[in-house]
């Protein structure tokens, strides 16, 4: 059985950055396992630009962004296997995977980085009534068909959900000559980034109907139309507000779900809010030596943040390996302090911090559950407020962050909990 120091599950943006980072931090035996036929993950089908503004200070397309990391992987001569599906990871970090060349094989690793990304919520999960004809696609599937296979899923399109992929596809389908009739969003606010609303909908006069949903799908063989209705505050369709749109395609952009089936089998604890693993300041899951980053951990809105997080995971895995090799215990001194998300904050990543192990500062990423204007994000240490930062606007679709400084946490002494909450004026 082959053995490695760090095996990265997934060769998308998170996996690539994590692998490069692990290598750069001194680990030689690194392996990336990728289920698709090339490295880069979903970036390969994201041919629009807007990637890299944070990291490279320039606007790149998805494939260009991926290429930078793929090149680095090749320069560093990192090992990777394509078309390789991981079937199982056990608690001893033995990985079972399958591909054509190696058949069914096992790998022993000292450390694992979970970077499997996410999948799209399907029509079924929404319980949209009606027929089940051809012509209903999740936005990402349509994106793959258009950008990678060069086939159009249809000519007249209605989009349910205003997630970023849906918005991007509204523009993409329009540029390809399709008529995008409307984007319906169940919530009273958009699920996508502001810039995508402007550049993908407004610039092309595509109407966005907030507080609307699809209540019926028509057509037995192929979609012939959908019925859209307004919803009340509880998201229930309001009788009498139904509008019929004739179309041959319904695209769904109604949320992403981290793909944690392997993590669950491995015994990693999952946070029910993010559907991702619970991690500490080192992005280490509840299974020692198993780290997580990218959309498998929590759904990000910008790939740049995925990269930053993944680099951190790669570095932490490298430090973990260094301790293993030097026979230093990986049990950190001192207690793990819980971070509590409260009053409008839905979750935080990480959820736990060990002061002895943390860097000088740790970035805590989170999302709010509603729209907050002129509010504050406050951090409390055992009830004492240590910071209060003004935010003009916070929306659920945009990830927020605060930095926690080691010095401040250490000064508190016998610290038990850190609380992050939204405070109004």
């Amino acid at each position: 059985m082959e053995s490695y120091d760090v095996v990265i599950i997934g060769g998308g943006p998170a996996g690539l950055a994590a692998a490069v980072s692990a290598k750069e931090h001194g680990i030689d035996r690194v392996l990336i396992l990728e289920r698709d036929r090339e490295l880069g993950g979903i970036l390969n089908q994201c041919i629009h630009n807007g990637f890299g503004l944070q990291i490279f200070k320039e606007e790149l397309t998805g494939p260009e962004y991926a290429k930078r990391f793929i090149n680095r992987v090749k320069e560093l001569e990192l090992e990777y296997k394509l078309n390789t599906m991981v079937i199982n990871i056990n608690e001893d970090k033995k990985i079972t995977a399958v591909n054509r060349e190696d058949g069914l094989f096992e790998i022993q690793s000292k450390s694992i980085i979970l970077a499997m990304g996410c999948r799209e919520r399907s029509r079924g999960a929404l319980n949209i009534p009606g027929y089940r004809p051809a012509g209903i696609f999740s936005a990402g599937t349509a994106q793959r068909l258009v950008n990678m296979e060069n086939y159009m899923p249809g000519k007249e399109v209605v989009i349910l959900g205003s997630g970023d992929i849906g918005l991007i596809m509204a523009r993409r389908m329009t540029l390809e000559g399709a008529k995008v009739k409307v984007v319906a969003e169940l919530l009273p606010y958009s699920g996508g980034l502001k810039r995508n609303i402007v550049q993908c909908l407004n610039d092309y006069d595509i109407p966005l109907k907030l507080s609307h949903t699809v209540v019926d799908i028509h057509g037995k063989d192929r979609v012939t139309g959908v019925t859209i209705a307004k919803v009340d505050e509880k998201g229930k369709p309001i009788l009498g507000t139904e509008e019929y749109y004739s179309c041959d395609t319904l695209l769904l952009s109604v949320g992403l779900i981290p793909e944690n089936e392997l993590s669950k089998e491995l015994g990693v604890e999952i946070n029910p809010v993010t559907n991702g693993p619970r991690v500490n300041e080192s992005l280490e899951t509840t299974v020692e030596g198993v780290f997580a980053c990218g959309n498998v951990l929590h759904v990000h809105d910008l790939v740049d943040y995925v990269t930053l997080e993944a680099q951190n995971a790669g570095k932490n895995a490298a430090e973990y390996i260094a301790r293993v090799k030097n026979n230093i215990s990986n049990k950190a001194e001192g207690a793990e302090i819980s971070i509590i998300a409260k009053n409008g904050i839905r979750y935080t990543v990480p959820e736990k911090i060990n002061i002895n192990r943390m860097e000088d500062s740790v970035t805590i990423r989170f999302r709010v559950g509603d729209i907050y204007k002129n509010s504050y994000v406050s951090v409390f240490l055992d009830g004492d407020r240590i910071s209060r930062k003004k935010r003009l606007i916070m929306v659920p679709s945009e990830m927020e962050e605060v930095k926690l400084e080691k010095a401040k946490l250490a000064a508190q002494g016998q610290l038990k909990t850190i609380t992050i909450e939204v405070e109004k004026e």
Binding site: R35, L104, S122, G124, P129, G135, R222
Partner: protein
């Protein structure tokens, strides 16, 4: 001229075809859809009923019990998954208890073995997720779960192996009675046959009424279902029904043989024989009624919903046999629940009728067994290793949710009566059946289908007809 022509390749038609294929007979099956099992067969509870439901003395009761008893051997011969998980009919209020006892007694007189009445404590020990308000249950160990697609595909494949021809996308438009036999006009071509078998599901009345003056009526009875993720597939171990009571007929909750959880159905009589659209009311009703049976139904784990049509005959009885005023016209009509369970027995009964009338003789070279579509998950790891070494296509996973390999998909396409569409693949090997509902694998499966069938991606359909998946090339 055919000796026998069967209309309909659902589970009933396929079971009849397979039984007939034991004999020296020239027979064919006409199916208006692109694949077998596309009507009532494809959307039901996937249950092998014990046989306590149908009224004593009815053909329904007889076929149910006989079909159930045949299932063990049949699944072995056809190499398909089947699990005798047992069923519980739970009683939600004291005032419904007499109905439970009535069911028990009916079951006993129908010949159902091992029936047992359980106390509340016994039920909850068996099924801890059931509601505390349950007062008792009828336990039937002989009930089971099966995949209706697998069963029908296997029956049809085996019939085909044994010489029965299948014509798909072939819709019967008119039937003309001759002195002996029939002319069957279709959208494709004309067929002549001595015997005609009507296994046309919800359309069985239309077919019957083309030749007989003793009219029958089949009403499509729609049922909405929810299918839940495998992570909650063991929420209950047995198939849970409720006593028909003051809360209406109730819905069932059951694991499926592939490890999901199924909940439903509703029962709405409709006119349109093609109307398999689910409704909000229907899906809400399923959730509400299932909520009475179990504690905290995990509705967030729903991966898809669907509706099926039962072929409900007005007298609520199977109509099996030669029409009184149409010699050589054999009905297998009104096959609603427990139709799936009964199909193997109906197959035998119809084949017997034809055998007697035609004096058919048994074939020497009948092949009773069929090798199922191989699934990697079903064999131990060591054997998987050997197989992939030998056939590398089994090393390429196409559907990640259900771990379906390219090897399995190729098998599904190239075996007798192979898959031609995305749904055809899905029903045979489960690619696209999982939690992402084909989001990741559909472009790949489409590509494989186009390559193997030698057609353009533009011709690939979801389920035949005009259900094309992509419409044109990009600019």
């Amino acid at each position: 001229m055919y000796d026998v022509l069967i209309i309909g390749a659902g589970v009933t038609g396929s079971a009849i075809a397979r039984e007939l294929s034991r004999y020296n007979v020239n027979a064919c099956v006409l199916e208006k859809e692109e694949d077998v099992g596309c009507g009532a067969t494809k959307a039901n509870s996937a249950i092998v009923h014990a046989g306590y439901d149908a009224a004593n003395g009815t053909l329904m009761a007889k076929m149910n019990v006989a079909g159930n008893l045949m299932m063990d051997q049949l699944v072995k011969d056809l190499d398909i998954p089947y699990r005798k998980n047992g069923s519980l009919v739970v009683c939600l209020s004291e005032e419904d208890r007499p109905k439970l006892i009535e069911l028990y007694e009916r079951g006993v007189s129908n010949g159902v073995k091992e029936l047992k009445l359980l106390t509340k404590e016994e039920v909850l020990e068996m099924e801890p997720n059931l509601s505390e308000s349950i007062v008792g249950a009828l336990y039937a160990p002989s009930a089971g779960i099966i995949c209706p697609f697998n069963l029908t595909i296997a029956l049809a494949e085996n019939a085909n192996q044994n010489g029965i021809e299948f014509f798909f996308d072939t819709e019967v438009l008119e039937i003309i009675k001759l002195g002996e036999g029939y002319i069957v006009k279709t959208n494709k071509k004309e067929f002549t046959t001595r015997f005609l078998v009507n296994a046309a599901g919800v359309y069985a009345d239309e077919i019957h009424n083309m030749v007989s003056n003793r009219k029958i009526k089949i009403t499509p009875r729609r049922g909405d279902y929810l299918l839940l993720d495998k992570s909650v597939g063991n929420y209950v171990a047995k198939t849970i029904f409720t006593v028909p009571g003051k809360l209406g007929k109730g819905v069932l909750i059951s694991p499926t043989v592939h490890g999901n959880l199924i909940v439903g159905p509703t029962a709405i009589d409709i006119e349109d024989k093609e109307s398999t659209a689910t409704t909000k009311e229907g899906l809400d009703e399923v959730i509400q009624k299932a909520g009475l049976i179990v504690k905290n139904l995990p509705v967030r784990q729903v991966i898809t919903s669907f509706a099926g049509l039962r072929a409900h005959e007005t007298g609520h009885e199977f109509i099996i046999g030669e029409a009184e005023d149409a010699e050589g016209f054999i009905d297998a009509a009104g096959i609603e629940s427990p139709g799936l369970t009964s199909a193997p027995a109906i197959g035998v009964m119809v084949a017997e009728i034809i055998k007697e009338k035609m004096g058919l003789t048994l074939k020497d070279d009948f092949i009773a067994t069929r090798k199922g579509i191989f699934n990697l998950n079903d064999i131990p790891l060591e054997e998987q290793k050997e197989l992939i070494k030998d056939k590398p296509k089994y090393g390429t996973v196409v559907c990640r949710c259900e771990t379906v390999t390219e090897g399995e998909i190729l098998d599904a396409i190239h075996r007798p009566l192979g898959a031609k569409s995305l749904d055809g693949i899905k029903r045979r090997v489960r690619a696209g059946m999982g939690r992402c509902q084909s989001g990741f694998c559909s472009p790949k499966v489409m590509e494989i289908l186009a390559r193997e069938l030698g057609v353009s991606m533009l011709d690939i359909t979801k389920s035949g007809g005009a259900s094309n998946l992509v419409t044109h090339r990009t600019k």
